[in-house]
């Protein structure tokens, strides 16, 4: 969680290089498919990007503070989406906005609690142990969440059958009165606006939180130096738990957005792919760097949407290709700084 550093000219050169690639590829796309399609895909891509960016934020915050690749983050995202679906569906009779905000708040709170629980049970005991052991439990947590929540409710004993989601798809309730707009042949809905606005709002809130509150300051201190922070009287355990809570809450919010946008939650396994994309987005921007996660998320969302419109396999591949190419030239991500190893 640090501000990107680096020489002014180098940054400018990178921005120029990236910009010219973007301009060239959009020019090609417009020439092939026309301007209307281009703008339409751009809007869709920004919508998808705002979902990825929020998931990537949680990823990068956890990484920034304990240097753990939280493989379970995609499943936390899945959990948030399901909670939002249940709460929103139950409160739909109270009106659209009540249901929407209740679902948002409830899913963020419950998922934050899940995140804290996971940290407490699976990661905290291993914090001072070798790195790979926490990584293994992260994978274990991921497999557990997917398979546990996919258990069919009739096959599990009493208290748990109210907890599991079942292996089948569920329809996500319409939490907003969706209006369709058309402007010069480009179509968009309330959801496009809501996703984007919600993502930007949450990001601003996060930036405020990290830079202007006491616990945000503590988080930055712990990310910088755990022992030093402890000596300054910061409760490291609480701070890390708070980071997990915030990261998981953001994942839940984006889970809600995902559900509203695509209208269906395929199965408790659906978090794997967005989780992977968010991981890539976080690394692409420079893992542990908050503006990097946002940049990476939007880049992933937009490029995936465009590539999918050309060929669905390319849509799956494009994020990995971009990642490989960027990391070959900029090994610490777009906004990261390559630290020379000192002897």
């Amino acid at each position: 969680m640090s501000v990107p550093q680096g020489g002014y000219w180098r940054t400018l050169a990178w921005a120029g290089g990236l910009g010219s690639v973007l301009v060239l590829s959009s020019w090609w796309y417009i020439a092939t498919y026309g301007l209307t399609v281009f703008l339409q895909q751009l809007i869709n891509g920004l919508q998808r990007g705002s979902i990825y960016a929020l998931v990537a934020l949680g990823f990068t915050m956890v990484y920034g503070i304990i240097e753990l690749i939280n493989f379970a983050h995609g499943d936390i995202f899945m959990f948030g989406a399901y909670i939002a679906a249940f709460v929103g569906g139950a409160l739909l009779s109270q009106g659209y906005w009540v249901a929407f905000f209740a679902a948002l708040v409830a899913s963020m709170v419950v998922t934050a609690l899940l995140g804290v629980l996971i940290e407490r049970v699976a990661y905290r005991p291993l914090r001072y142990k070798a790195r790979f052991s926490a990584l293994t439990t992260a994978m274990g947590v991921s497999i557990f969440l997917e398979n546990f929540f996919a258990l069919p409710p009739h096959a599990v004993p009493f208290p748990l059958n109210y907890v599991v989601f079942g292996p089948n798809y569920i329809r996500f309730p319409d939490l907003l009165n969706v209006q369709y707009y058309s402007y010069g042949g480009i179509y968009f809905t309330t959801l496009h606006i809501m996703d984007f606005v919600l993502a930007i709002l949450l990001m601003l809130l996060l930036v405020y939180f990290i830079h202007y509150t006491l616990i945000g300051k503590a988080m930055r201190a712990v990310a910088f130096d755990k022992d030093g922070a402890k000596l300054m009287g910061i409760n490291v355990d609480w701070t890390i738990a708070a980071t997990f809570a915030i990261g998981s809450g953001l994942a839940a919010a984006s889970g809600l957005m995902y559900g509203m946008t695509y209208g269906i939650l395929a199965s408790p396994y659906f978090g794997i792919f967005p989780g992977l994309q968010a991981f890539i987005a976080a690394v692409l921007g420079g893992i542990g760097i908050i503006p990097g996660a946002v940049l990476g998320g939007f880049l992933m969302g937009v490029s995936e949407t465009f590539a999918t419109s050309i060929n669905s396999n390319l849509g799956y591949m494009i994020s990995f290709l971009i990642l490989i190419v960027v990391l070959l030239f900029k090994p610490a991500g777009l906004l990261g700084r390559w630290r020379r190893e000192k002897v």
Partner: protein
């Protein structure tokens, strides 16, 4: 001993040993394959201290190449049983070498990338391989457009998203009262061979340089170790073993689909490796075999629904209470360092890792 039981069970001894069915045989073969691939992964992640999570990509290359060669180029089913085995071994070596060559290419970025950045590049590599296989029909179509219809036919044969099946099958060889399941024997022998070869790699001077790179790369360079060569070679070996494992996998499962080789498959191998203990061949052997058998065991004892819930819980419990894995970095006696004054394997799992304070 187990192998002996399997030999007899397939023979006509008049003894009813029907508990060893083809299902058990297949689980055991998968355990062997998982041992091979995990040991290969151990060379990168355990002994050289790099971080690869794209092992499934190498496996996919090995599996698809083996299957293509065995079905389309050297049709194994037209050969006699005696000729089949060397032909199959030759194909496996070719497939492994191809995967190793790709491993060499993937190892090259490891000169620049470290830790998690390297990890995600290997992950991306695995997923790109899978996507390419999945879009094989489109590739074939464009090859046809360029007039390469022979090549296009071969590419079309691997089926893309439809999957790739119908490979020739190995029968059992009957010698007197014994019936020898050929494929099982091959897997069994190759697993043993992999263990011995890897043990020799690890205790060779090259293996020592791997350990020194893991300990401290700069110090290793200062001591005259070519860390670039060491790392790239580790990726090559690892790719080779994963390729051979993939080739065997193709013949055990007898149906290939790109989704068999997803990111989750790579995760499986990481779990095998870390649960066994990094840098311990014995640990890889124990954990790869037992964690392959465990979910199937849970299935057999009636936990069908719960097996993938219980399995990660056991894994988490193992890691929390036994953080350096089952074996830590100890070895069985027959895999331990030769006594000639060589030091014990460097101890990294117990020392404070540099990232986490």
């Amino acid at each position: 001993m187990l192998y002996g039981a399997i030999l007899f069970s397939h023979g006509d001894l008049g003894v009813d040993v029907n508990w060893i069915t083809d299902y058990y045989l297949q689980v055991l073969m998968l355990a062997g394959i998982n041992i091979i691939v995990t040991i290969g992964l151990n060379l990168i992640n355990g002994f050289t201290g790099q971080f690869s999570i794209g092992q499934a990509g190498f496996m996919a290359i090995g599996a698809y190449l083996t299957a293509m060669l065995a079905k389309l180029v050297i049709p194994l089913d037209t050969l006699s049983l005696i000729a089949q085995i060397p032909a199959f071994l030759g194909i496996l070596v070719i497939a492994g070498a191809a995967a190793g060559a790709v491993g060499y290419l993937i190892g090259l970025p490891s000169l620049r990338l470290k830790g998690d950045y390297l990890a995600i590049v290997t992950l991306a590599f695995g997923e790109v391989v899978r996507s390419i296989i999945r879009s094989s029909d489109e590739i074939a179509a464009s090859l046809k457009g360029w007039g390469l219809s022979n090549l296009a036919e071969v590419i079309e044969g691997i089926g893309g998203p439809r999957g790739f099946g119908g490979f020739p099958k190995f029968d059992s060889l009957t010698v007197g009262v014994l019936s020898i399941p050929i494929l099982f024997t091959l897997v069994f022998v190759l697993t043993g061979l992999t263990v011995i070869v890897t043990r020799n790699i690890v205790y060779s001077s090259y293996g020592r340089s791997c350990l020194s790179v893991r300990g401290n790369e700069v110090a290793a360079e200062v001591a005259g170790v070519n860390s670039t060569r060491t790392k790239v070679l580790a990726f090559t070996f690892s790719g080779f073993f994963a390729g051979v494992g993939g080739g065997l996998f193709a013949f055990v499962i007898r149906f290939l689909h790109p989704d068999n080789f997803s990111f989750l498959k790579s995760i499986d191998y990481l779990i095998f490796l870390y649960a066994g203990g990094m840098g311990s061949l014995s640990g890889s052997i124990i954990s790869a075999s037992s964690l392959t058998v465990l979910p199937e065991f849970l299935r057999v004892v009636g936990f069908e629904q719960w097996r993938l819930v219980v399995y990660p819980l056991l894994l988490i419990a193992l890691m929390v209470w036994w953080p350096s894995g089952l074996m830590g970095n100890r070895e069985f006696a027959f895999l331990a360092a030769p006594a000639k004054g060589l030091p014990e394997v460097l101890d990294v799992t117990d020392q404070e890792p540099e990232h986490v304070v």
